[in-house]
Symmetry: C2
Subunit: 220 residues, 2 copies
DNA sequence: ACATCACTGTCGGTTGTGCGACAATTAGGA
DNA sequence: TCCTAATTGTCGCACAACCGACAGTGATGT
């Protein structure tokens, strides 16, 4: 049981090819935290709450959102191997965003008062953590570029290319995509209609299928 | 001479209140790198080049830009205490962006083959580095929110509030602001005219003066 | 089978912003 | 001092995107 978690942590935390973790490091990490499970729609933590723990996402997708002036805005969506909640924790400030499980989520919870001594004692873990953070930073920077000065069609095309699974399906409602890109639902619909017309995708109920990745890329 | 740099590094690298560095840590950091100076307009590193070093900005402002499909896009602007070039370095990939000195810049250069052993040997430094990275991440996430679903006037108001120095001056041309926000120069001009009309700012050649921060905030 | 709810598709009216163009102003060097 | 380059200020036009509204369609539970 515990072995499984160790194996998973070794495989997915940060980059596997980089700085292999020793069994001791791994054991220390495993002992410092605990595996938790979250049902769809439940929160791992909420914006403004006291930051008492950071999480490593083991399975599933977590959505990070933040209350805007009117509607909540989605800061990002992270999956397997991502670290969340650490920004607030290290700065000793309340959580800066809310983390909601989109599907069933398994995560590894690390308590604040255990995490710091752990990282101090195991430099390799600290470096891994660092790399995970920088990974997230680079991803966010790319998102900025994807949002700036691009039409909705281009944004949608890029998003679908990112989000499509192995079968080319994207399981998102048009409203969700709208919130994700910070546009209106109608505009998404219009954009999808255009992509559909050029045979790049097909649309269904809560589902979009990528038919031709090249045609899709041509729109981005 | 060296003492000065040590003092600076202790003061400005990451958060001072957090995890005070021991003299040993500091000395190790100082020995692993070297202080460099850059003239305005010169590059610390360029996009696509081999990532052989990371930098800690000691003084001045550095602009991070990335080649877009047509025009270069500005990923961010960082100042004193920020760490740059580390994303690419830790991932062992070419630099993602170009770093250009906007004014005279003093920086601390850390070689790749010295940085890793250093961080492995000094956990406190690794944690400081981590916090600096997360700082940058949070800043970038805020930037996403600032760009999404906001009018140009709101964006300009927020930018001026961020960028104003102690006298309320912002030394940027309208074109620069336009690139920074990913909009057109004309729109910036129009936005500034509106802010000027409501007595929030005053404009001059390559310079904008914030007259009333509250009036400015009302526009954001 | 039916009712209900969530989601998709589509329509005009309105607003914000990009773009081209051009005049006016400022800074800095010959 | 004058000349030149850079920057600012201001048009009008075109287009992309938002908004409200409403009909059509798929999913779900009683």
């Amino acid at each position: 049981m515990e072995e499984q978690h160790y194996a998973w942590l070794a495989k997915s935390f940060g980059r596997t090819d980089y700085l292999p973790l020793s069994p001791e490091d791994l054991a220390a990490l495993g002992e410092a935290g605990e595996a938790i499970e979250k049902y769809p729609g439940t929160y791992l933590f909420r914006e403004g709450a006291d930051s008492d723990a950071a999480y490593i996402v083991e399975k599933g997708t977590v959505e990070l959102s933040r209350e805007g002036t009117d509607r909540p805005r989605i800061v990002g969506r992270v999956g397997e191997g991502s670290v969340i909640g650490d920004i607030a924790l290290f700065r000793e400030q309340p959580y800066y965003s809310s983390a909601r499980a989109l599907g069933p989520v398994t995560a590894f919870r690390l308590d604040r008062n255990k995490l710091l001594p752990l990282l101090m004692a195991h430099p390799k873990l600290a470096l891994r953590w660092l790399v995970a953070g920088l990974d997230q930073l680079e991803k966010t920077q790319r998102r900025v570029l994807r949002l700036m000065n691009r039409t909705v069609v281009q944004q949608v095309a890029a998003l679908l290319d990112d989000e499509a699974d192995q079968y080319g399906d994207v399981h998102l409602s048009q409203s969700s995509i709208a919130t994700l890109l910070g546009t209106s639902r109608q505009s998404i619909n219009e954009a999808l209609a255009e992509l559909k017309k050029s045979k790049a995708v097909d649309t269904g109920y809560r589902k979009i299928t990528v038919l031709n990745r090249d045609a899709l890329a041509a729109h981005a």
